[in-house]
């Protein structure tokens, strides 16, 4: 071994053993945890956090309760500094022979508290699983409404339902599938649970569960040569602050008159095919308008996707504008948080249609998908404020499509 390696080894051993100094007092630990909490944007507080975490990592398992308390923060930068301390302490203690007594009861309480940060709870579950194998399997089924472990619990419920169905116990299967459907927020699991329920004779509405807006008035096509549509400001946009005039007619693509027509999407995931509902055209702009009734003033997410591009106005204010040509409509591609007022809320949506793809065999999709939900993807109880579909209000003017 060269002298440099010997020196380096001595340095590492010295820094990690004999030179570590005395265990910090509760007050000193508090100071260090607070120093980490002050980290934030722009790299703020890094130097102090670095020194503090070096000191904190010298502690043993007695630090875990205070450390986990500190880790329960929205501040992701601070959380990562704390995690570094957590990883060092737990790794060191798990490597001891015998492994010392971890505060397992406290850790389990932490895991099952839905008010704690999900990322920390999942980290702690991994630790407890190592200490007491089987913990995950025993805890997860009871966490169907849990924001962090919901998907795991839904998967477990679906699996129980499958086992019951295979054994011919359809009623029990139905109960498990129903539990899974109610709890699910992930579109794949929602679809699976709905399919499983249908297979045992129960129909459920994915649209209502996910909060899709399926009732619209549609207007178009307006002419928009090439890819100009996104920037064009057409009459409905000009009127949006004062209120869209659903009785008005306009000059559409090709020179004919176009008008608002009532549309309802019957798609399971609320997608509207504008090629069918407006017209199969290219280089155009279409608008969708809806009114939703909110049972209260509430903060909600609008989640949407469209092909091509999407712009949304809520109660006269533009709340989202995204450029994306030829990318297809994808569930929840774009999200924005808005406030719905109690009662009627008006929403205007603009969707462009681009030129034909250079490969003529590629169909020109023109579609829209939009839902209103909470931050976890659950329904927020809004209902349609539009009049019912009638033969008269759903009649599309075909004269414009040439």
């Amino acid at each position: 071994m060269s002298w440099t390696r010997v020196l380096a080894l001595g340095l590492v051993v010295g820094l990690t053993t004999g030179l570590l100094g005395p265990v910090a007092s509760a007050e000193e630990i508090g100071d260090d945890l607070a120093a980490v909490a002050r980290t934030g944007p722009g790299g703020r507080g890094s130097i102090a956090a670095r020194k503090a975490t070096d000191r904190l990592a010298r502690n043993g398992l007695e630090l875990l309760p205070r450390l986990l308390e500190a880790m329960d923060t929205d501040n992701i930068v601070a959380a990562n500094w704390y995690r570094i301390v957590y990883e060092q302490i737990t790794r060191r203690e798990l490597a001891r022979d015998p492994v010392p007594d971890f505060p397992v009861s406290l850790l389990k309480t932490y895991i099952t508290n839905p008010k704690r940060q999900g990322r920390v709870r999942r980290l702690v579950l991994d630790l407890v699983e190592r200490l007491e194998p089987g913990t995950t399997a025993s805890l997860i089924p009871g966490l169907l409404a849990d924001p962090e472990f919901r998907d795991d619990a839904v998967a477990a419920a679906l699996a129980r339902g499958d086992r019951a169905k295979q054994a011919g116990r359809n009623r029990e299967a139905s109960v498990e599938y129903r539990k899974a459907f109610r709890a699910a927020r992930n579109s794949g699991q929602i679809g699976t649970a709905a399919d499983r329920l249908k297979a045992v004779g129960r129909e459920v509405s994915v649209v209502a569960h996910m909060g899709f807006v399926t009732n619209w008035f549609l207007l178009g096509p307006f002419d928009a040569p090439g890819t100009t549509g996104f920037e064009l400001v057409l009459p409905p946009e000009k009127q949006v602050a004062a209120g869209v005039d659903l009785a008005a007619t306009y000059t559409g693509k090709g020179g004919g008159r176009i008008k608002w027509t009532r549309h309802h999407s019957g798609d399971r995931f609320g997608q509207s095919n504008l090629n069918g509902a407006i017209a199969a055209v290219k280089e155009a702009v279409g608008y969708a308008y809806t009114e939703v009734i909110s049972p209260r003033k509430q903060s909600v997410q609008i989640r949407c996707g469209a092909d091509d591009n999407i712009t949304i106005w809520l109660n006269g204010q533009r709340v989202l504008r995204r450029l994306q040509w030829l990318n297809g409509t994808r569930l929840d591609r774009f999200r924005t948080t808005v406030t719905l007022k109690k009662g009627r809320n008006r929403m205007l949506v603009k969707v462009c249609q681009g030129p034909q793809h250079k490969n003529p065999a590629v169909p020109n999709n023109w579609s829209l998908q939009l839902r209103i939900c909470d931050a976890g993807g659950g329904s927020v109880g809004v209902t349609s404020g539009l009049p019912a579909v009638t033969e008269k209000n759903a009649a599309v003017s075909r004269e414009s499509v040439r």
């Binding site: 440099t4 944007p41 990322r119 994306q324 994808r330």
Partner: protein, 430 residues
């Protein structure tokens, strides 16, 4: 209050220890003459290593120096500096768990492994991307890692001590991306430069290497989504330019201030390949089915009509970057059609179906070009000539989506499950 004398004593001890450590590192650095692979696409960010004696043949069982399992997924290329290899990965629910791992170059043993949380995971492609798509970058003393979650970290390379963490998505909004961001950071003087193009508000940002704070930030309204890594070029007069390929255009900025210098159009939307800078010329690949172009850098304003020396739509890939060896410019499409163009004229020299799908970008050492397909087959061809000449075809037995790395005579292949270090037949690094 903490005991002040104890603090002073600690500071003194740590100060002396750090000084000693720095001396050891400096001595070790002087003794080392190896070619490192310090970031995305190597020392010059063009996929080319000056190493010689890089292995030509291998298989899953032969010429394997070591093979170390990696957690989760990631297509970032391994980064090698002296006796350390750095690699990033992500796993867990929505790939929100981030990993920065340092391995010993000679043995593959893990020296340190930091596990962190990402701020805002995005959508990603099942195999072709993850939150660990951008490659880390190192100067030997520190390593910086950027993730698709919008997080940037700085660690000491020796022991993995975290120096700073920035949550760009926490500060500037979630990176809205359907395949996960893959733009790799680069180092310029005392800053780290990042290109963050996405559906939302795109931007370029220069972070202080030591503190992570912003040196400058340039918003890019309307620039939209791209995955390309930026390039740093040095002009004949010594000035540097920061080159950014995005949707619709290539742009140049002053890397010290973020001031816009020039722009060239004719790019397609959604650019992924990294621009190359060879012998004073830029080579850029547009988005899907767009052209390759050679551009004379410099100038101001729109230089599309004055500085684009040639363009050729033939053989342009969507994902893999191109490579230049000698006077030849090589491309492979995602579907495995390879094209060789003349660097001076842009005219086609040959075209060949390699077979298999390609995500990884090619690398080269000497006149050998290494192309790794998604099945883990590495085709080695002779570059720089007029004819196609195959030298070897090696199968590692696992899928590969990450670009390889070459350092100190060894070839580093990141499969979907392992980091594999391949050595020459002699068993020694040349």
């Amino acid at each position: 209050m903490r005991n002040t004398s104890m603090k002073r004593s600690w500071n003194g001890m740590i100060g002396r220890a750090l000084l000693l450590g720095a001396t050891i590192m400096a001595v070790a650095g002087e003794e080392s003459r190896a070619e490192n692979w310090p970031g995305w696409r190597g020392p010059d960010r063009n996929g080319v290593s000056r190493d010689t004696g890089v292995p030509l043949n291998w298989s899953a069982d032969s010429n394997v120096a070591w093979k170390t399992p990696l957690p989760g997924s990631g297509i970032s290329n391994p980064v090698i500096f002296d006796d350390r290899v750095f690699v990033t990965a992500s796993d867990g629910k929505n790939l929100v768990n981030l990993h920065v791992i340092c391995l010993e170059r000679d043995t593959g043993r893990i020296r340190w492994h930091q596990r962190l949380w990402g701020t805002a995971p995005t959508r990603y492609h099942g195999n072709k991307s993850s939150m660990a798509s951008p490659s880390p970058v190192t100067d030997g003393r520190h390593v910086w890692a950027f993730f698709g979650t919008g997080d940037v970290f700085c660690f000491e390379s020796a022991g993995g001590r975290m120096i700073w963490h920035r949550s760009l998505s926490g500060e500037y909004g979630t990176i809205e991306n359907r395949f996960a961001t893959s733009s790799s950071p680069l180092l310029y003087r005392d800053t780290i430069l990042l290109q963050v193009d996405h559906y939302g508000d795109s931007y370029l940002v220069a972070l202080d290497r030591k503190t992570g704070s912003n040196r400058w930030k340039v918003d890019r309204p309307g620039r939209w989504l791209s995955w390309s890594s930026p390039q740093l070029i040095r002009l004949k007069d010594g000035r540097h330019e920061f080159i950014v390929c995005g949707s619709q255009r290539v742009e140049s900025f002053d890397p010290g201030t973020g001031r816009a210098l020039w722009t060239a159009g004719e790019m397609r939307r959604e650019c992924i390949p990294t621009p190359l800078f060879i012998d004073g010329r830029l080579y850029v690949v547009s988005g899907p089915s767009g052209p390759s172009m050679r551009i004379r850098p410099g100038g101001t304003g729109d230089v599309t009509k004055t500085h684009v020396e040639w363009k050729n739509p033939r053989g342009s890939p969507f994902v893999p970057s191109a490579i230049v060896v000698g006077k030849r410019y090589y491309l492979v499409t995602d579907g495995g059609i390879a094209t060789c163009l003349d660097t001076e004229t842009g005219k086609s020299v040959w075209q060949k179906r390699f077979g298999g799908g390609f995500t990884a970008s090619p690398v080269a050492a000497g006149d050998r070009i290494y192309w790794v397909n998604e099945s883990g087959v590495t085709l080695v061809i002779r570059g720089g000539g007029d004819r196609y000449e195959e030298l070897a075809k090696n199968t590692i037995g696992e899928s590969v989506f990450a670009s390889p790395a070459i350092s100190q005579g060894r070839f580093f292949l990141r499969t979907t499950r392992h980091l594999v270090c391949l050595k020459g037949a002699s068993g020694k690094s040349p």
